[in-house]
Subunit: 363 residues, 2 copies
């Protein structure tokens, strides 16, 4: 499956012999060792410093944090263990949300649309130009994390920074409800929004899994003849559930949120797909047809394990003639802006997304 | 200077002890070893495969190539040795150019503008809308490589793919002529272009060093009250000559063109600066004020040592309210599109740049 693993062992062992020479002259050692030939790239073990000179102190502190405990390498043995872990993590995330909303100047109500539970996030003061506009949010979390209030953080941040009304879909997830439950719920709420709102006044956004779902929702709306929204913001989208993409390798161990596809991601993908081909465009929208998609803005970072997912999606949108903007933040691991929306670079990311959506939404 | 080096040695030695455990369980080993605490990131030695599933076969072959021989880690002991190396490399690059122009359908003439030698690249067939338009190109090469015809490849590619008239500046370089010779020459030719062409018909572009010079030229034009062009395309710009930026660390040993800032780059920076502060905005334009800059498109790749230079420049342009687009190509090391303009992704990169410039140039 992953021949790189035994190759990695060989490299680790070869470093043992070469370590003294490496200390004397890293350039010669690395070049002389393996990279003079054609083939895969040999990269020595390294200690990578926090890029303090080029990021805010708050972001530097985030980059220095340890790997995200419990979440990144979870591999529960059964459905009950998954549910226990998900609920444990969700408790902590949900507990932080009232404080976030307070800081963001946002109120939250709950509701049900087309039978699906939703959270409605609104700024305390709504600008006139946003009164007829609605943003639909699909939360992240690898199709397993972020149920209930735990999944409302990104919606709250967008409501606060962008002064939009945001409807966040509390879609069903595995192990209880694998694909297509999440997409069915997203589609049902999207249609319910369209029943009362002109699509020119609607945008859809989400990060990570929510970014992948945003793209999959566009494919499904196209296939069903449902009007597309005015704009989308798929942030660092999980657009490819297979183990593909350069940054899965190059940013492995650097991203302190996802860390490695060999962590929970691969397990979550299988849990969600429930036997379905991971390359089905409803699961991995990168394999779908992006022609006719609305204008899109994509967000990622230099350390993001999904850097490749994001730039591949951006290129594919551009190849399909879609207006698509890309922003890449120095030092960001996966989805930092949704994990801590209060660091300066996160505010900047949300500000850019809000400005882009606003420019494309009808007034 | 670089405490990471001794830390790297410590890591290499620690891997010797841990290698057997690592082979059994890489996830536990890496997490257990170092990344449970706050601080720099510990990344194990790895063999990184070529991302064949997500790039064209031609690009995969480029990614698999060994480090760029001679150029990347050059450190000639004196001026004569620098000149000998630069001329040796230039001979090879120049020899390829007639073949490139033939494939691109481009002709080349030489000239002198304001006392500066230039190359003029033109497509054999010029579209009507481009007849009054001129692109100014500043070639790359770390302020040392690419004199004469060796520096004309990017200009030829843009003339061929974009069907533009391109004037490439054969600016003076160290060791013979350090800063400000290169910028003086670029500015002199830019002013000579403006003497006969409305700035609304002019765009400036360049990659790597040429990207940094493009940005420095905008700062200098602003300072001197010279009109700015309609658009710019600073590709993977050397916007910061200091050893700053996350990708100098994260993409070290992965980028098979530049490989490491500890290669020739640091030496070339000092040679060019000739004692001047590397943070002078004429040397490192990222430290300048980008307000009022023309619309810009920036290009980089997931393995580019200058990924951070590029995204930091993009963010700084956006913070200054400048219309700025970013494109990041899967698997690209530094400036691939100028080093081999014939792979599909390079054509795509040039196509996007040409389209962006065309959209902003007056007809």
């Amino acid at each position: 499956m992953r021949p790189v693993r035994s190759a990695t062992l060989a490299l680790a062992l070869s470093l043992c012999t070469l370590a003294p020479a490496y200390a004397q002259s890293p350039l010669e050692q690395v070049e002389g060792d393996a990279n003079k030939g054609t083939g895969p790239r040999t990269v020595p073990g390294r200690i990578i410093p926090v890029p303090t000179a080029t990021v805010s102190p708050e972001l530097a502190a985030t980059i220095a944090k340890p790997y995200r405990a419990l979440a990144w390498n979870a591999n529960p043995p059964d459905a009950a263990a998954w549910t226990a872990l998900v609920n444990h993590l969700a408790e902590g995330a949900a507990a932080a949300q009232p404080g976030w909303r307070e800081k963001l100047g946002v109120t939250m109500t709950t509701g049900v649309m087309a039978g699906v539970p939703v959270f409605i996030l609104q700024p305390k003061e709504m600008p006139a130009e946003n009164r007829n506009r609605v943003l639909l949010n699909l939360h992240g979390g690898g199709y397993v994390y972020g149920p209930g209030e735990a999944g409302t953080g990104e919606a709250a941040a967008m409501a606060g920074y962008g002064h939009f009304k945001v409807i966040e879909v509390d879609y069903r997830m595995p192990p209880a409800a694998p694909y297509p439950a999440a997409m069915d719920d997203a589609m049902a709420v999207y249609k319910a929004v369209l029943a009362t709102t002109d699509p020119a006044h609607v945008a859809v956004f989400g990060t990570s899994t929510g970014g992948g779902m945003t793209l999959a929702l566009m494919l499904r709306a196209k296939a069903e003849g449902v009007p597309l929204p005015a704009a989308i913001a798929p942030g660092t989208p999980w657009s490819d559930l297979t183990d593909s993409g350069d940054s899965y390798q190059t940013n492995e161990w650097l991203d302190n949120i996802l860390v490695s596809y060999q962590g929970y991601l691969g397990h979550a993908a299988k849990l969600y797909a429930n036997g379905r081909d991971l390359k089905d465009p409803q699961l991995s929208p990168i394999y779908g047809d992006f022609h006719g998609f609305p204008p899109a803005i994509l967000t990622t970072g230099t350390r993001d394990l999904f850097l490749s997912n994001t730039v591949r999606t951006h290129r594919k949108l551009r190849q399909a003639g879609v207006e698509a903007e890309l922003q890449v933040f120095e030092g960001f691991s996966h989805a930092y802006y949704t994990i801590d929306p209060f660091i300066p670079e996160s505010r900047e990311a949300f500000g850019e997304i809000a400005q882009f959506l606003s420019a494309h939404l009808a007034k």
